[in-house]
Symmetry: C2
């Protein structure tokens, strides 16, 4: 008999990534489609379903037991996406209801960074943990908090939005409408803004002066740092210091055993991690000193949101077995 699978879906601003996930977290038949190509959510759902069918055909039609979805601004309680700044669909999108028209299966929707935290818990470095925090560093900064072995979603399902804690009330303009949110400093976009600030403030020569803001990527900044570019190194130090200070705040909220970092920025390795850990240790409440590890996600080369949202479905189908 063919192995049963759950479809895991990670909806991002640019791409939607899909995969079939086996009971033990094996990911196969992954595929991606453009998210923002679709102005009408109905057209997107049609293509999403067609993509799942094509994947299913290639995999010889394994039994699909459910669908898990991670998405920005997901309301897990209502199965909706609400006013997501990076998506074209405005207002409240009843994603689960729309997909239910095509699939009479268990469908769960969770916030994308929450899904990533679940991925780390089911299949990554947090398998043995009851209390940890996952930080995803992409275009923005996402957070997923696990306490008492459970995902913290809160009263309105918007818990864990650590990217929107405030660094400076008079700071950088944020997509959420406020100023100085953590993700305006610590994210792919945040570090680009920092590089540009330093290029503006200083006369330091830098390879990054040849890059337009639109061209610039965290990968380029990482490569410049490796080539000893002072602006690039300073940008990582600035980014890491702010991240470390705010993670010291995170630590006193839920006292995690570890904080996992995931995403493109993490590929810069020590350039980001060293200043992050230094600022974290310096600013951590003494009673927790040496008690909380900052670690790179063990799913860094995979897609924790696909794995986590699919794992949540597996967990609902047979509690405990997927862990």
């Amino acid at each position: 008999m063919m192995s049963e699978v759950v479809v895991g879906i990670d909806i991002g601003g640019t791409y939607t990534k899909l995969g079939f996930v086996g009971r033990t977290g094996k990911l196969f038949e992954h595929q991606r489609i453009l998210t923002n190509k679709y102005v009408a959510i109905e057209d997107y759902i049609i293509d999403l379903a067609e993509t799942i069918e094509a994947m299913s055909a290639r995999a010889n039609h394994p039994p699909i037991l459910g669908i898990g979805i991670g998405a920005p601004n997901a309301n897990a309680y209502n199965g909706t996406i609400e006013a997501a700044p990076n998506l074209k669909w405005k207002g409240i999108i009843p994603l689960v209801a729309l997909l239910k028209k095509y699939y009479d299966l268990p469908i769960v929707l969770v916030n994308d960074a929450n899904a990533a935290a679940l991925g780390e818990m089911y299949y990554g470095g947090a398998k043995a943990m009851q209390d940890f925090i996952m930080i995803t560093l992409g275009t923005g900064l996402g957070g997923g908090i696990i306490s008492n072995g459970q995902l913290i979603q809160g009263y309105n399902s918007f818990a864990g939005e650590i990217g929107h804690t405030i660094v400076n009330v008079n700071g950088r303009r944020c997509g959420c409408g406020r100023k100085g949110c953590l993700e305006t400093y610590v994210s792919a976009t945040g570090i680009k803004r920092t590089v540009y600030k330093f290029l503006a403030d200083s006369l330091q020569e830098s390879a990054l002066r040849a890059m337009s803001f639109n061209q610039l990527t965290p990968k380029m900044i990482g490569e410049a740092a490796k080539a000893k570019d002072k602006i690039a190194i300073k940008a990582f130090e600035y980014t890491g210091r702010i991240l470390g200070i705010k993670l010291a705040d995170s630590a006193v909220y839920t006292n995690p055993q570890a904080i996992f970092l995931f995403g493109g920025l993490v590929k810069a390795g020590a350039y980001l991690l060293k200043p992050t850990i230094k600022a974290f240790k310096k600013n951590l409440i003494p009673i927790l000193k040496e008690k909380i590890a900052i670690r790179v996600s063990e799913l860094q080369e995979q897609n924790p949101a696909i794995l986590g949202s699919a794992g949540l479905v597996w967990d609902k189908l047979s509690p405990g077995n997927s862990k």
Copy 2:
């Protein structure tokens, strides 16, 4: 038959407050002893036990079913108090083990502000809530976080120390050894420091210029505010603004249904609450706008730490019944 009781104990830096708590949260036979009179923890335990015996005699020896204790820097997992800055007993104090020598009963120890959160959940304004935060404003600022209907204690039992989130890394010196913690601004001591800063910076006349730092109390500042003292009013505005901004951070961590405020500072009413709510609303992530209430504790005239720690014992004796 006499009503069964649980002993609730609230250990503070100055006083230890005790009471008998019935199954439905009725508090009676309360008493207090000085905490910091005792250099040796063993002497303190003896007097604590004698006080309980005296209370028991006065109440005609009701059956005592257990003891609940709220204390600063409590490690709930180990039954110890660890390096509490405001207590005379240094190092790690095995409080539960010491008390077990006198009482062969269920004894639970939790962080004092966590106990207060449990009190609000069992017997106060959060009876119907699964997700809320309790803020206690005393000498310091304590926090208790309830998510998914459970107390968040974290990996080391030190979760909820919201008073030690950082407002300004170069700010006021904190008892914890760092600088700029929230409680150096928002607490009985914090507002006194703010009054003194304003008295130093300005030439504004103020009744508070007649008070020494040691004499000054939040109650006096509240009375001065009611008498339209500009320094006092400005001190509450400054305090409330910082509290509101940091509570907006709290909101994105665990997305509570409500945040309850308890303690001496809350007695100033609108002088504190108005700037707090204003700054909270202004700085709250838009997706949560109008969704989170800031409320005064319904146990404001009682002792939520006694009620909560006793309630936790009741809950362990017969889950769900105390709620």
